[in-house]
């Protein structure tokens, strides 16, 4: 399996300095993600799922341990690890097109040092942007501002922005968490198609059991914080393409679902403070 290691997380711990002293968020995280693999990080809120994703993104640096991507240490954020943010994070003063173009321009508008690819001209950049918007079915909304489109559409623009940069890794932080169930299902199906088409490596944070089982090859289940760590890793061996309707009463699917629910609600039952 060593040849398949693409992202490697070695003995990572993350401690935050707060006003009340040190807060250990993560400890002893060891994980590898293969190229083209779809990994879901699942756990109760506050278990450090997003912290781990931010570490992979390079937005924060770990207190201990190391993260590698393609055998190079992750030293900071970069366009080869695109992030789809939980709250879409589109710039409200730019149109959908301009939001996507911003990333495209940065990645392809200058000659690449690593691959030696020449810089592309404006027409090529525009074409890439339009292709990304078409991929998520938003060609018609290209000239609209984020304030004029629905939450689901905004999230799709966020995905288009990430995909347009042709990242090696797609990092998604609860991308569909803020959406209604129907829109979420539709976007999950779209994501399945896009991932099948692009063979992207994906790490996705979620708190939705069905989403995790439906989309991933591997579900990483995290224990409760503080000082959360990986409790269990479940390989989801369901054939692709996956169909949510057909899977709904598939015994294998239900078995995986049960395993995750069992972990989350029996072994890691969240101790809620009396509210």
């Amino acid at each position: 399996m060593s040849s398949l290691k693409y992202i490697e997380i070695q003995n990572v711990a993350q401690t935050f300095k707060t006003k009340k002293g040190l807060f250990p968020a993560l400890r002893d995280i060891n994980l590898t993600v293969a190229k083209g693999e779809f990994v879901a990080l699942i756990g109760h809120s506050g278990c450090g799922k997003s912290t781990l994703l931010n570490l992979i993104a390079g937005l924060t640096t770990p207190t201990e341990g190391a993260l590698l991507c393609a055998n190079r240490e992750i030293a900071g954020p970069g366009p080869e690890r695109a992030v789809v943010f939980q709250n879409h994070s589109l710039l409200p003063w730019l149109t959908c097109f301009e939001n996507v173009y911003l990333g495209v321009e940065r990645v392809f508008g200058a000659a690449s040092k690593s691959t030696g690819a020449p810089s592309e001209n404006k027409a090529q950049l525009t074409e890439r942007t339009n292709a990304a918007l078409a991929l998520v079915g938003l060609t018609a909304a290209a000239q609209k501002r984020p304030g004029e489109i629905s939450g689901g559409m905004k999230q799709r623009v966020g995905i288009a922005r990430a995909l347009a940069m042709e990242p090696k890794v797609l990092l998604m932080d609860e991308p569909f968490g803020a959406l209604d169930a129907l829109t979420r299902a539709k976007l999950q199906d779209e994501l399945l198609e896009i991932v099948a088409k692009t063979h992207a490596t994906v790490v996705m944070v979620t708190h939705d059991v069905d989403e995790a089982v439906l989309l991933s090859d591997k579900i990483v289940m995290m224990t409760n914080g503080p000082a959360a760590t990986i409790g269990e890793v479940l390989a989801v061996d369901l054939p692709r393409p996956r169909n949510r309707v057909a899977l709904a009463d598939d015994p294998a699917y239900l078995g995986y679902r049960k395993a995750v629910i069992d972990f989350l609600y029996t072994r890691q039952a969240h101790v809620e403070k009396a509210a």
Binding site: G76, P77, P79, R81, F85, N87, H88, L102, G147, E148
Partner: protein, 291 residues
């Protein structure tokens, strides 16, 4: 602040808010007379109250304060020829207002040219913030008029001293609001910039500047409001041509009608400035990402 409307021009205008569906009785007219009355009546009553009190004061002081009607007649006469010139101390009210506005524009413009970049720098770099915040805290509460003698001493002229006073009073709101705006740029936007690996130039033009613009415009609005307050007092002290000087001159002439007219003129000009800047600010306010 009002709720932001990203593109007011694109959206269809809502049906007149005064019309409530429950009270419209199926007539062809789109205005409900009762709702219209309720919308117009309170401001009219407020204005009526002001004029009523004014009339009572006028009567009880045996017309040493002129009555509303007399003042109105005088105002009509005054505004029939606002741009006459009979020597340096006797010019039309239009010239006085324009001269005051010019001083405000120059002083405010200089303050914006210095204050907005300074605000960006103070907001962006914590070191500069810690360096300048004590100075700002110390100097901001000082009445701008206290700076007038310094202005007279340094610039050796009434006009530049008045402009200097406007400069000093309008720079603080712009520095402070711009700095706060820079500090409050949502972390999400900065994360986007980091993930997309944007250049510093792109960060400033595509993220910082648009995100700070609403705060900056609030600073501009406060600055213009303060400047318009201060110019009247400054001109009373410096003389020359200007609405503040005009008030003082008419006080020396014991022409109370003109003083009252000047009060209304100052109020209306201030109102127009405020309204225009609020309009500009709403046009540049965008829906923000809520985290």
């Amino acid at each position: 602040m009002k709720a932001s409307e990203p593109t007011p021009s694109v959206r269809a205008e809502p049906v007149d808010a005064a019309v409530s569906p429950s009270t419209s009785s199926g007539r062809t007219g789109s205005y409900d007379p009762r709702a219209l009355l309720l919308a117009v009546l309170p401001p009219v009553m407020g204005l009526g109250l002001l004029i009523g009190i004014w009339a009572i004061v006028s009567i009880s002081t045996a017309s040493s304060i002129p009555s509303p009607l007399e003042t109105w007649k005088e105002a009509v006469a005054l505004f029939s020829d606002p741009f006459y010139r009979k020597g340096p101390n006797d010019q039309g009210v239009g010239w006085n207002v324009l001269m005051s506005l010019e001083r405000v524009a120059v002083g405010f413009g200089l303050a914006a040219a210095v204050g907005i970049p300074a605000g960006f720098a103070i907001g962006r770099f914590a070191f500069l913030g810690r360096m300048f915040n004590p100075l700002i805290s110390l100097l901001r509460p000082v009445s701008p008029l206290a700076w007038l003698p310094i202005g007279l001493l340094v610039f050796k002229g009434a006009n530049p001293a008045a402009i200097w006073t406007i400069f000093i009073c309008s720079i603080w709101p712009m520095v402070i609001n711009t700095a706060v705006g820079v500090q409050r740029v949502p972390q999400d936007y900065m994360n986007v910039a980091r993930v997309l690996n944007l250049s510093e130039w792109k960060i400033v033009t595509k993220i910082l500047f648009p995100a700070v613009l609403p705060y900056m415009l609030t600073g501009v609005r406060l600055a213009v409001g303060t400047a318009w307050l201060v110019i009247v007092a400054a001109e009373m002290l410096t003389g020359g041509v200007g609405i503040g000087f005009w008030v003082w001159d008419e006080w020396n002439n014991l022409n109370v009608k003109h003083i009252i007219i000047a009060i209304f003129v100052i109020g209306i000009v201030g109102l127009i400035l405020e309204y225009a800047l609020v309009k500009v600010a709403t046009a540049f306010t965008f829906e923000e990402v809520k985290s």
